[in-house]
Amino acid sequence: MIITIDGKRVEVEEGKTILQVARENGIEIPALCNYIDGNPIGSCGLCVVSIKNGGREYHARACATKVAEGMEIETHTQEVEDARRTILKMLAEEHGEIGGEAKELFLKYGIKIKSDKKREAPNLLNNPFISFNPNACVSCFRCVQACSLIKENHVLVRENRGSNIGIVAGINEALKDAGCAFCGACVDACPTGALMDLTAKEEETKKITSICPYCGVGCAIDYYVSGDEIIYAKGSPNGVNKGDDCIKGRYGWQFVHSEERLKKPLIKKNGKFEEVTWDEALNYVASRLKEIKEKYGADSIAGLSSAKCTNEENYLFQKFMRIVVGTNNVDHCARLCHASTVVGLFKVFGSGAMTNSLEDLEKDAELYFVIGSNTTHAHPVIGTMIKRSVKGRGAKLIVADPRDIELAEYSDIHLRHRPGTDVALINGMMNVIISHGLEDREFIENRTEGYEKLKEIVKKYTPEYVEKITGVPKEDIIKAAVLYAAHRSAIIYAMGITQHTSGTANVASLANLALLTGNVGKRGTGVNPLRGQNNVQGAGDMGALPNVLPSYAKLGTRRAREIEKIWGGKIPDKEGLTIVEMMHAASKGVIKAMYIMGENPAVSDPDQKHVIQALKNLEFLVVQDLFMSETAQLADVILPAASSLEKEGTFTNTERRVQLLHRVLEPVGDAKPDWWIIQEIAKRMGAEWNYESPKDIFEEIRKVVPQYRGITYERIEKMGLQWPCPSMEHPGTKILHEDTFPTPNGLAKFSPYEYKPPAEEPDEEYPFVLTTGRTYEHFHTGTLTRKIDGFNELIPEAFVEIHPEDAEKLGVEEGDCIEVESRRGKIRVKAKIARIKKGVVFIPFHFAESAANVLTIDALDPEAKIPELKVAAVRLKKC
């Protein structure tokens, strides 16, 4: 359509606002309150323009008015400029401390900000991360819009009326009490500098974009650096997160500047750690490992690689263990989180990764089936995406979780099943789908095998039967099944599914459900495991596993021989030990030495007492870490490592996207990147390695791992690529299994399981079911987040969530101390009365001093060897 703007006739697209059109034509209209184009707030009134159309003359807001055929728009008439000046003058008389981008507007109009009026600060000021200056706030409400529309948090609201209008959190509470997520969206939205990151200072900064050191979403974060200090950080618009972030991405970098960082290599001499040079430490480690290998054989040594380290480092670590040490005893913490994903999905689909991408899930999923994932806490950016899809475009949501997680509030159905009964629940849903004829026959016919067996097995899982096992009313099971089958549905799950003795069965059952309804290989569908640590996917891809090599190549096969050629060394054929097996072997004296890179098994692993005893039993323990972790304290040598913000390399996020890290800071003290340390030890043990940079290592990875072949540092400089990416021309793969499955015959294989109860069920002696997990604020064993004051202020200590009726029976009230005891140990924690299923309690596992894993059981899934961290029988007592 044609319109005239400031005398210029221009062709414009329908649906655009006058403000957008003006901007495209180089005309600048002051627009203080406009934040999201097309979603006007309309508070400032500065963007008002004069319009003539069809004989009518009027004024309208450029941000809120769409262009229409024949409009004649004048953006800077005397009249509107006068009005703008008047409005700005009134503002200047009311708010004396306006800063930020708004200040420029005043400069431009030559208006002095001169008020000395003081306004009362709302209670939201009271928090550890965000500062608020009421005398700068002009109540434009951009922050309120960001909090509600972008983040669906609805914490900030407008309060009062007339010239007293302002913002408050909730009912004028402290941010934390109002449910603030500390995502900082409000800070980013604020044009006046009223809301700021507490650490932000008026200093020249340079921006460096890298990848968040925390969860598997793999958000790109812009770090603003001055000298050798990060001043503040926020989600980068150029990442999978498209500008989003969460408390960990935004404020979690603060650990890098912690006083407690390890800065020098340490050797324990006479029971005390002493600072030594790198040379001394490395020589010592190499000679001790050689010695032990010669004395007891290579299989007496085990290594733990890390899902927090880069692909390059994981690759090098497992290569080191396999051809320098000569053992397959290498594993990493994914064993504890997603080993069952890899095994379960492999079985059904022939590939163990997330099938779809954040982008298509956000745009095209009509229904999300979230099971065993407290998404808004553990993978917050994805949690927000789900909330936005539900609220913004009416996507449906089924939540299956024994706890009243935040997403449950947004759900159409909340299935509160008993922990450990997932297979029964999913089989029940499949039973309903088949009995109502809702299965996708064409898909089953053309793309799968084994359907008859599935039918056979799920037959007995009628809603009535499943209700008895799971405690979920049968009507809800039916409703959930029908909703799932009737929509373009995406399954999203996390550790609530995998950390069970039935972990593999759980995962395979979800995959079966997706196959049954044809919800695989299409946009907005699939089976989508959310990876815990930022590089769980990559650590697996790199073969930091005892039974497979990089690219999941099996030991002893032709592929293994090919890799040997590239490596120039012999790879043992015998499978190595998994984490839990290593600990058992260590306590029996079979494993003599361990090399642990960036992991904290003394807190993260089940049955903690036993783990510590096993580590103490070692002849030699090397720990490479950022901090003196609980595990490091038991070591003979500690090697100070650089954090991911201090090095280069790649991470592979939960959606298989290989992303490049950029060095934001130089390593503190003498800390070194893990790849450098591994190489130096390897060299001292006789390896002729010569990698000059992570890029050198990556070039080798490209040769070894076919899925990564087409990826280069240059190609992923700005935005990562999703594997498989087999060639330089390949654009990467957003959705797996679109036409065929990576199985020998190209078909997916239904792999039904019977329900088996968890290893330990509640009984008279231990009547409660304990389940463990994360909080939003902390991460993993707290090695990073608990070094940050603000995070500790928000959640200072462990707690146990308990149903009000259970609490009443025990005579405990909120905040009382409770002793939680299992067959393996006991801990004391504070009670938190919560909406959780009766008979179930929840404890987060970040806190070493009251470690939930003192209680957990190390019963293993028979296929994936993942321990059952999600179910243990406990008893409770008021202390």
């Binding site: 006007p40 707030i41 309309g42 508070s43 400032c44 009134g45 500065l46 008002v48 004024h59 807001r61 809120a64 008015t65 769409k66 009249e79 509107v80 006068d82 009005a83 703008r84 008047t86 409005i87 009134m90 503002l91 008389e93 009311e94 002009v138 109540s139 409400f141 407008r158 009062n160 009326r161 007339g162 010239s163 007293n164 209008i165």
Partner: protein, 404 residues
Amino acid sequence: MLLLKDARNVEDYLAQGGFKALRKALEFEQDEIIKEVETSGLWGRGGAAFPTGLKMKFVRKERKTPKYIVANADEGEPGTFKDRVLMERNPYQILEGMIISAYAIGAKKGFFYIRYEYRDIAKDIERKIEELRRLGILGPNIYGSKFSFDIELVLGAGAYVCGEETALMESIEGKRGFPRIKPPYPAQYGLWGKPTLINNVETLANIPVVMRMGGANYSRLGKKGCSGPKLFSVSGFVKEPGVYEANLGEKTIGEIIELAGGVEGKFKGIMLGGGAAGFILNEEYLDMPLCFKDAKERGLFLGTGDIIVFNESVELWDILLNIAKFFEHESCGQCFPCRYGTKRMREIIEKIVCGEGRKEDIEKLNATARAMKIASLCPLGTSAMLAYESAMNNFREELMGVIQ
């Protein structure tokens, strides 16, 4: 009288031919009803004077469902009490109009939003709604037809701005009554984002009249293009304040004042259209016919049809100060121009009333008024200066007399 009847009970109303229009309407096609309303030339009586038939057509045309209808009985304009009198004396005619309109646009649910201060009437309306349900005139299958419709009564939030249609909808949705930015208009994006028809209760009471006599006949009531009966609240210095009915264009302002018994004391001026968002006029306007068009030609609006009469005892700056205080108090604060403009207007006028007004103050007042007029978000802000501006036009000498 077509509006100001005395039909407080359903028997009386039925006896006077009540609900005949509804029964007739139910035999019409929906679009035919809208056509009749369009032909009638009925314009909204809530202040904005928008063609009622056209608004119905906009809602009817929307594909989204469900659709809603809202009766606006928030009547917060100072000096306006016509809706109150109408609801007391002829409530069923409003409800009948609402049911017919609902049928015409395809709404199944309606809300009757009534001012908090009118809670006594609200109770009565609620009883009447229940009564109509029992009679089968509301609820499922009205008069045995396929059309089902029900009304929920909502008590207002006690703020003037909640009478503004979008703020009113926010309020019904249970949120704070902040006006929404327009467009989108309620016809496209109303209650819960669904197409919604909102009308003043007096407008609704005209619908049965249109249906009974037919659009063409109705259009001949009054003047061409300015038709139908209208209620006028006449107050201030008159001998018999009250609500008077006359067809639009039939009577002049002076004649209506005569109907109300004439001026008490010596005439000075009037305020037309509302005690806040109205115009302060001098005796030159006494001959103006009360008609939307005549008003528009002179740059005025009839607004809600208020006429407040001033005699010589009245100080204009005092009145302007009261009005400014009213707007400052009622500004929701959402947008800058009104939030600070109303405050600033009050501050300056206060200074003037104290005898400290200067020339610069008048300039500042004028600049503020202009900024508010073109840049406020909702009509509260854009009309807050009408009284001041019109007073300046018509009583300039007197007003400037106190300025140094």
